[in-house]
């Protein structure tokens, strides 16, 4: 049952969509991070001076925030890299808050000191989204290259919780930290914190722009197992009902992989999410995109100015269509894929994202077993 808050935001989003208002923005303050996570698409080194030079200044970000606020922005997500790496973080944050924005922060938590917590407590964000990378020093070392990050991240969780700053935990599933998945779920439950595990990991969406990195993700069927395992915890006694409604009368064959669908044609059905409709993403160097997971369309906001960039992104969004095969797929209601994932997987919005197909089919086979449907 959605909360009053969610329902009101949905209502506001609906109205913003009618009026072409950029209600939600994401500001990618930096491409640099103090960690070196192997699967991450945006983790330039903290002391990378070239990248640092191309980052927009605090004055620029504040100016953009003021313009966007006048245009109707309300929800602002601040991210990176690691945003707390910026020494001028609070210069920007305090100004964003004074504009009457609802500001959330993505962070790995390792740079959150007592001083940072005190400052946040005096001017609270809507939420801190803290990504954990494991449940031990060993896992943190294997994945992020820094074993000390473990205790710093968990200390940050403790401090934020004690200061009653709204907090959500994220967890990115990779071969290097899947061993800690259950421990993370237990930790979130014990601390009564919401957890959003990412079992679908995008392939390298910014590699050509940022850095070469390994496509390290678990195989699709394994991702489905973890997603299913989490959903069993999350939905409890409602899981059977959920499985039934996801299967919706279809039977997923045990012996087939995802059907060979005609893969490369658009439908006339447009992208349905808020990307480019009421939401935008601004990269560290000033490119505006509908969504951070999309490499294209991209518009140079620093050259055009915010208003024109937003109109261009809105127009470009209208050209994004769902692959024809997806609109005809029997697994559609269970599938988490989106145009951004199509493009990331294939370099084309029109092409079916096979990894997602495989993951969805595997998930539905697990759902099928869960409610003991006969197999064909």
């Amino acid at each position: 049952m959605p909360s009053n808050y969610t329902r009101y935001i949905d209502f506001l989003t609906y109205k913003a969509a009618q009026a072409g208002i950029p209600l939600s923005g994401t500001f990618e303050l930096t491409a640099r991070c103090n960690l070196d996570c192997k699967m991450c698409y945006i983790h330039k080194k903290a002391n990378d001076s070239l990248v640092k030079k191309s980052e927009m200044s605090a004055a620029e970000w504040i100016d953009i925030a003021r313009t966007a606020q006048k245009a109707g922005m309300f929800l602002l997500l601040v991210t990176g890299g690691e945003p707390f790496l910026r020494p001028d973080f609070f210069e920007m944050y305090d100004e964003f808050k004074s504009l009457g924005l609802s500001v959330s922060i993505n962070t790995n938590g390792t740079l959150i000191t007592e001083k940072v917590v005190r400052h946040l407590a005096e001017n609270s964000p809507a939420r801190v989204n803290l990504t954990l990378y494991g449940a031990s020093e060993e896992t943190y070392s294997r994945l992020s290259g820094d074993e000390t990050a473990f205790s710093r991240a968990y200390k940050a969780v403790e401090m934020l919780k004690e200061a009653k700053i709204p907090l959500k935990l994220n967890y990115s599933l990779t071969p290097m930290n899947k061993c800690d998945f259950d421990k993370i779920c237990d930790f979130a439950e014990k601390n009564q914190l919401p957890l959003q595990p990412a079992t679908y990991m995008f392939p390298p969406v910014r590699a050509c722009e940022l850095c070469k990195y390994n496509t390290v993700r678990v195989p699709a069927d394994e991702a489905a197992e973890y997603a299913f395992r989490y959903d069993v915890r999350r939905f409890g006694e409602n899981m059977a009902e959920r499985c039934k409604s996801m299967l919706a009368g279809n039977v997923i064959a045990e012996d087939k992989e995802c059907m060979e669908l005609p893969t490369d044609a658009p439908s006339s059905e447009k992208i349905r999410c808020r990307a480019g409709l009421t939401a935008f993403w601004l990269t560290y160097s000033g490119e505006m995109r509908p969504c951070g997971m999309m490499q294209v369309p991209t518009v140079p906001m620093r050259e055009l100015g915010f208003a024109e960039a937003w109109q261009k992104i809105r127009a470009e969004r209208e050209k994004i269509f769902i692959p024809k095969a997806c609109t005809e797929c029997s697994m559609r209601s269970a599938c988490e894929s989106c145009p951004a994932s199509c493009y990331a997987e294939n370099g084309s919005f029109n092409t079916v994202p096979k990894y997602s197909c495989d993951k969805t089919a595997a998930y539905l086979r697990l759902a099928q077993k869960y409610i003991r449907k006969p197999l064909i």
Binding site: I21, F74, K97, A121, E122
Partner: protein
Amino acid sequence: MKLNQNFILREIAGEAMLVPTGEISAKINGFIALNEVGAVIVKKLAEGCEISDIVKALTDEFDVDEETALRDAESFLKGLRENEVVTD
């Protein structure tokens, strides 16, 4: 009477809301959505006003008598004071 400066009045897509900031945002994690009547009252408060100014604004804007407008405004202001939205 005046609006507490820690509340920012926003108007987005025709909807008015009060967004807490500073020390108030630690107490209220969210915002106050205003309906049409609330929006008229809060806009007056943002300028600084007396209760009589609010009553006049309401009777100008809506089909309501003074007595009802005063009673409703006072009830609303009570809630605003309790949430530290209004400073006298």
